[in-house]
Amino acid sequence: MRPSFFHHLHPPTIPARQSRFRYTLGAGGYSVFLSLVLVISGALLMFYYIPTPEQAGPSIQMITFLVPFGGLIRNLHYWAAQLLVVVAGIHLLRVIFTGAYTAPRRFNYLLGLILFVLSVFLDFTGYVLRWDEGVRWALVAGTNLVQSIPRIGPGLYRLVMGGTQPSPATLTRFYAWHIFGLVLIMLIVGAWHIFRVRRDGGIAVPPPDQRTAPERISRFELVRREGLATLIGITILLLAAAFIPAPLAPPMSDVTAQTADASAPWFFLWVQQLLKVGDAFWMGVFVPLAVILILGGLPYFLPAVPSTELGRWFPPGGRLAQIIVAALVIAILGLTLLAVLPTGA
């Protein structure tokens, strides 16, 4: 058959060994799939969601309970969003633990890191758009972290909030970032990232004379595999969306009122836990920024992984990076667990 547009997006053939699911976990591909689901379900939600403080909560209730399949679309959007953060994180870890961040892939690794941070910000801005009782942490603690940054904090806070305190302008801005600002950046960086994957030689593999397995698969087979993965992905997402509803609390009535048990969204629980032990700026801004900088610096400050060791998990040349990242993951997971466990203190 003549290759279609989708076939031409892929190289004519790729090494069979490294295209296996247990090597890549399909995590990069699933990140693209989930982003697509998010754009489509998000566009559908835009037909009914109203971004004003009085109407945000009621319009979401209307979508969830009254619009035919509205609840399904909203749940799809919610689960695809949370899974994107998880799957993108898995992709990041896979790249680290297989040494695929090393030259010539260092710049693409940075692009991927930016995409990961963008997906977290998209998750956060989408969460705020609920404007219900459950998002108070975001509006109070989260945005006050911005204010705590020395020198530029108060100015940056006003830029983010559209005023000196949470207001209707805040909701409009978060909406604009969520449906367009961040999406536009993600599209550009995402397209660049995928282009760079091909230009840097595809999935990281040993040089041809070092490969032990010469088999290759054709672009046709590759597209078939991706089609299969898409079908499985849609099925799982549909079932999750049908049976596990997205959270919904009563609409926020008084934006400035305080609540005692405000809780961060799950991906920021580790930051909330850090904030219990220290200063707002150091724990809430500096430490997360430091984590990103450490991750971003790994390909540049650590010795490169020899190309003979690429194409498999845990290459010895990348041991230091693997240990550093494993430690970061354990720390963040540990902090998240601490935040979730019922505390006596």
Binding site: F65, L66, L248, P250
Partner: protein, 415 residues
């Protein structure tokens, strides 16, 4: 590979069918748009079997959310009920001003007597000021029987009139844990189950709600777990007896002793065995004689029940020299007509002459007939009673002595 794709497609179609089945399992949405709010409400999707609460609160006008609060668009129980006021009872005094209030509703102008919610908070049934004052005086904590404390802090709607008026201007909150006398503390722990903010003692005989519903939702005798969606002004004596005539306080044990008799008829059920009463005191219901201001307050704070309650035998039966006070209804806006409208048993019209109390409250179920005689139509039992007057009879009534004991000397019923 093709096989795998086929299997995956089969699973996908199956998942879509499962989703369609799941979506169709949701409760069918039923919408009403009440005329007073103009906003759609979906409560009836699950609660269509509830009876209408009263003829004066039709659902087409009020809907549900105006009184109860709640999320009007939600079809999931926890979310829909999350912002309801007062749980199952929006008339609890903590939220009654929002639920029952409004300038056209029950926190309106005092001149038009539409300020029920504000007045109720000053009435003794809410403040319990008399019982609290009497216990504190008995045990030497306060010097006299002038009320100082109430269940919640409250300001009188009307200030006392002049130096000789002993009615309080304001009352502080009664806090048993701050009281020093152990008996007063025990009173606070054991004896505060009969005011409008208190949850009743367990048992069908005590069963009532709090707030406005304590009287206006006649739920005594029912299982407390069976909620009653009803508001009425036709309040039977059994509802008053959720708190009244239930037993006695033992001051030495500082505890409540419920009455132990098992009456089988209205006469014995109405009052405790120790009481004496006339025929009208058990054949009529409490609401036939006791007025709205006596029960719901008139904006003044009172020191005890004897001060707030003023209707006496002579209010209906007159004195040796005078017939009871009357008023002829002149126009459609007379409050007597508004009250009679709520009870179809009482056919009142413009031009009718009704008895009024010494404080000008209409006894709108007591009319003067064209031949000059007086007739009461009871509100609950709907019986027509001719009302004999003291004037022109053999009664030796003393207008200065109107306590029960004096009339009962001749008129009590033996049982």
């Amino acid at each position: 590979m093709r096989q795998r794709i086929l299997v995956a497609t089969v699973l996908l179609v199956f998942a879509m069918l499962v989703v369609i089945w799941q979506v169709n399992r949701q409760p069918r949405a039923v919408v009403i748009t009440p005329t007073l709010t103009g906003e759609e409400e979906y409560c009836l999707s699950c609660h269509a079997d509830l009876p209408e609460i009263s003829a004066s609160h039709p659902i087409e006008s009020f809907g549900c959310v105006l009184c109860h609060g709640g999320e009007r668009l939600a079809l999931e129980a926890d979310l829909a009920h999350a912002t309801m006021r007062g749980g199952r009872n929006p008339s609890d005094l903590a939220v009654a001003d929002v639920s029952c209030g409004g300038s056209e509703c029950h926190t309106g102008s005092a001149e038009l007597q539409r300020d029920h919610v504000s007045r109720v908070q000053t009435s003794l049934q809410a403040t319990y000021a008399g019982a609290i004052a009497s216990i504190r005086y008995t045990y030497g904590v306060q010097a006299n029987l002038t009320a100082q404390k109430a269940i919640s802090a409250v300001q009188a709607l009307h200030p006392p009139e002049g130096a000789s008026d002993s009615r309080p201007q304001a009352l502080d909150a009664f806090n048993p844990s701050k009281e020093t006398h152990p008996f007063v503390q025990a009173f606070g722990e054991n004896c505060l189950t009969c005011h409008l903010q208190a949850e009743p003692l367990p048992g069908p005989a005590f069963n009532r709600l709090t707030g406005c519903a304590a009287c206006h939702t006649p739920s005594t005798g029912r299982d407390p777990e069976q909620p009653l969606h009803q508001l009425t002004t036709v309040i039977p004596y059994t509802q008053c007896n959720a708190c009244h005539n239930r037993g006695n306080y033992d001051l030495r044990q500082m505890d409540f002793v419920p009455r132990s008799d098992t009456p089988s008829d209205r006469m014995n059920d109405y009052y405790q065995p120790i009481a004496q009463f006339t025929r009208c005191e058990f054949e009529l219901d409490c609401v036939d004689c006791h007025t709205r201001q006596e029960a719901m307050g008139n904006g003044y704070l009172y020191n005890n029940q004897a001060e707030q309650q003023y209707v006496q035998c002579k209010t209906c039966h007159g004195t040796l020299d005078a017939a009871p006070l009357t008023r002829t209804i002149q126009d459609e806006t007379d409050i007597a007509l508004r009250l009679a409208y709520l009870n179809p048993a009482i056919p009142l019209q413009v031009g009718d002459t009704i008895v009024v109390t010494e404080q000008d409250e209409p006894l709108w179920n007591l009319r003067q007939l064209p031949d000059g005689k007086f007739e009461m139509i009871t509100k609950v039992t709907q019986v027509r009673y001719p009302v004999p007057l003291v004037m022109g009879s053999g009664c030796t009534q003393n207008p200065e002595q109107q306590e029960s004991s004096t009339c009962h000397a001749c008129h009590d019923v033996q049982r």
